[in-house]
């Protein structure tokens, strides 16, 4: 028993001695550690708000904020720093944005990204010192349009979020919600709108929506949404010129007649062109198959194709482009079915086709897509030549 007691006592003494020593060491190191940790967290915040003091984290789940906001900090001077993650076509940027109490941006910085372009690193600097309206006017970078557009949207979200956190209210509808509301306002009788493919060139029109219940169409001209009912009457408020343009577009769009061209009658048309039609006004509509990245991971080697519909003028300018079908990798090449990608082809000619932004991480998909679209210009030349 005595032996056991000795063992227990000595073990206890050693434990206590070690604990006391560690407590002393902790007393020395703990403040240093705390300071270093605090500085590290502050450094990221200070980078976008150099004047900031006493940052406090805010529980974002307690507020209704734009969905891109993943974190928020308040600052002693009434400002806020927001952490945002971009979504959609250019997903994967994490952006810190500081907004002062007057709603001015104190700084924006991208702290992580899956991009390799490099624009996202310095683009934030352009926003420093701007208010919301000015920030909206910052130019996107050619060749990195989607990245910089997503960046701009994140900054806009940050300003909205800061307004809400300061007790104000802001428009935090998503792009889809805004579109839906605009369409409903333009054509109140319409329900469940679907985007239409534009076979004919419609002057000034950037998009056409058809109401699935047959109530009519909505034409987007610049910023205005013009509703036209099934009988051809304009139901939205607009100036005369816009009304006339919308009406002309309505007539042209609803009277479109496609006559199929027998492709086998023409030699030299790329096999990528599957079907071709001529419209009443002499434009062309093509259905194409493009080689995607595919199942073998080799460019063009797979049996899976992307199907594309393209309309173009006889002069060789693309009117509209839409992806009908694709089998690309989910969340990567599948971006070729995103309107933000394929609508880039609008207005392009054989010379300017190269300006279309690639899809991040799916270069092969983009290349296959572009190659297929480029066949349209060849086909038009052949069809025109034979006609003469």
């Amino acid at each position: 028993m005595k032996k056991y007691l000795g063992s227990i006592v000595s073990l206890t003494v050693i434990c206590l001695a070690v604990s006391v020593l560690l407590a002393a060491a902790n007393g020395i190191t703990a403040p240093v550690i705390e300071k270093a940790e605090g500085e590290k967290a502050n450094a990221a915040l200070l980078a976008v708000m150099p004047e900031g003091k006493d940052f406090q984290e805010i529980d974002v789940s307690a507020y209704t904020l734009p969905t891109s906001v993943t974190g928020a900090y308040s600052e002693a001077g009434g400002g806020h720093v927001l952490r945002l993650a971009t979504t959609g076509y250019a997903a994967g940027l994490t952006i810190m944005c500081g907004v002062d109490k007057n709603g001015k941006i104190t700084g924006a910085a991208c702290i992580s990204s899956g991009e390799t372009l490099g624009y996202e690193k310095t683009y934030g600097e352009r926003f420093a010192g701007l208010a919301a309206e000015e920030a909206a006017l910052v130019a996107t970078v050619a060749g990195a349009t989607k990245t910089t557009t997503a960046y701009k949207k994140a900054v806009a979200d940050a300003i909205n979020a800061a307004t809400i956190l300061s007790g104000g209210s802001a428009d935090i509808r998503t792009e889809e919600e805004i579109l839906r509301d605009n369409l409903a306002a333009a054509l109140p009788a319409g329900e469940s709108f679907a985007k239409e493919f534009m076979a004919e060139e419609l002057q000034g029109v950037s998009a056409v929506y058809k109401a699935e219940n047959g109530a009519g169409y909505v034409f987007v001209l610049g910023e205005s949404f013009i509703g036209i009912d099934a009988g051809g009457n304009v139901v939205s408020e607009a100036d005369k010129e816009t009304q006339a343009a919308a009406k002309a577009a309505f007539t042209s769009h609803t009277s479109t007649v496609l006559s199929e061209i027998e492709l086998s009658a023409y030699a030299g048309i790329s096999p990528r062109v599957e079907k071709a039609y001529r419209t009443a006004s002499g434009n062309y509509v093509f259905e194409l198959s493009a080689a995607g990245y595919g199942i073998n991971g080799e460019y063009g080697a797979s049996g899976k194709y992307i199907r594309i519909k393209v309309s173009a003028t006889a002069g060789g300018k693309i009117i509209d482009c839409v992806t009908l079908e694709q089998h690309e990798t989910e969340n990567v090449g599948s971006a070729c079915a995103d309107p933000k990608y394929y609508e880039q082809y609008r207005g392009k000619t054989a010379e300017t086709l190269g300006e279309v932004d690639t899809i991040a991480g799916a270069t092969y998909t983009h290349r296959g897509y572009s190659v297929a679209v480029s066949k349209v210009f060849e086909a038009i030349e052949i069809l025109k030549g034979a006609k003469r």
Binding site: K3, Y4, G6, S7, I8, S10, L11, I14, C15, V18, L21, L22, A25, N26, T29, A30, V32, I33, A36, E37, K40
Partner: protein, 246 residues
């Protein structure tokens, strides 16, 4: 005479009884922290510091600790020094602290440290224990560096984080990942075997001598031990006793 023995106590750990390549102790950090040279050096020096300190402390206290509870006492002392190193690194070298992560705390259960405490420091004087700790610690660090050099240079195409021109175009990235760790370790041990042939203690397999709990389970048949190894353990212990007396 005695000076020479002290020197050999120190040198032993560097090569002939290198804890990693010859005794095959402390395999976990050897594999886990050697993807980069910086991490390997940090881990090696941290473990060496703990080893020297714990060897000295245990050697000082060796006559006060009852043998029945010596293992728990050793563990407490070692864990204390590990925590101390953790605190100091967290405070003054935060980047390395994050790089090593959980493996820093796991120095506590590194077999080398408990093994040296049990086999050497508990039986020898302060100076010799310190030398033994320093030698073993340095041997451990050198072994980690050797592993890390191979893995970082050929696997990452970098050294100390700096890109190496030609090699970085032909890097074998798999070496920096988990399977690469096992492979490089195996190849290096084979290389050491081939170079030293019969001069070093030829360590062919794992057994009780590498296991710091050997003392605790001596009464039971150790599952990993076969006859050869048991006799070997007896021999090394005897040798060490003689060294200690001499």
């Amino acid at each position: 005479m005695k000076k020479e023995t002290n020197l050999s106590v120190f040198l032993r750990g560097l090569l002939i009884e290198n804890p990693v390549f010859v005794l095959v102790l402390g395999t976990c950090p050897t594999l886990a922290t050697t993807a980069s040279v910086v991490g390997a050096l940090a881990m090696g020096l941290a473990a060496a510091a703990v080893l020297v300190c714990s060897n000295v402390a245990i050697s000082l206290l060796r006559n006060l600790i009852p043998s029945a509870v010596r293992i728990p006492c050793y563990i407490v002392i070692i864990a204390g020094f590990v925590t101390l190193v953790q605190m100091l690194m967290h405070a003054y070298l935060p980047a390395l602290y994050e790089l090593l992560g959980i493996y820093l705390a796991l120095i506590t259960v590194n077999c080398i440290i408990l093994g040296r405490a049990e086999m050497f420091a508990g039986k020898n004087g302060v100076l010799r224990s310190a030398l033994d700790g320093a030698g073993m610690g340095l041997g451990f660090t050198l072994a980690l560096l050797a592993m890390a050099c191979v893995r970082e240079i050929f696997g990452g195409g970098t050294f100390w984080g700096l890109e190496i021109p030609f090699i970085s175009n032909y890097k074998i990235e798999f070496l920096t990942k988990a399977p690469g760790g096992f492979l490089v370790f195996g190849l290096l041990i084979a290389a050491v075997n081939a170079i030293t042939k019969c001069r070093a203690i030829k360590k062919k397999d794992f057994g009780c001598e590498t296991c710091p709990s050997a003392g605790a389970c001596a009464a039971k048949p150790c599952p990993a031990a076969d006859e050869n190894l048991t006799t070997k353990v007896g021999m090394t212990e005897k040798e060490e006793k003689e060294n200690g007396n001499g």
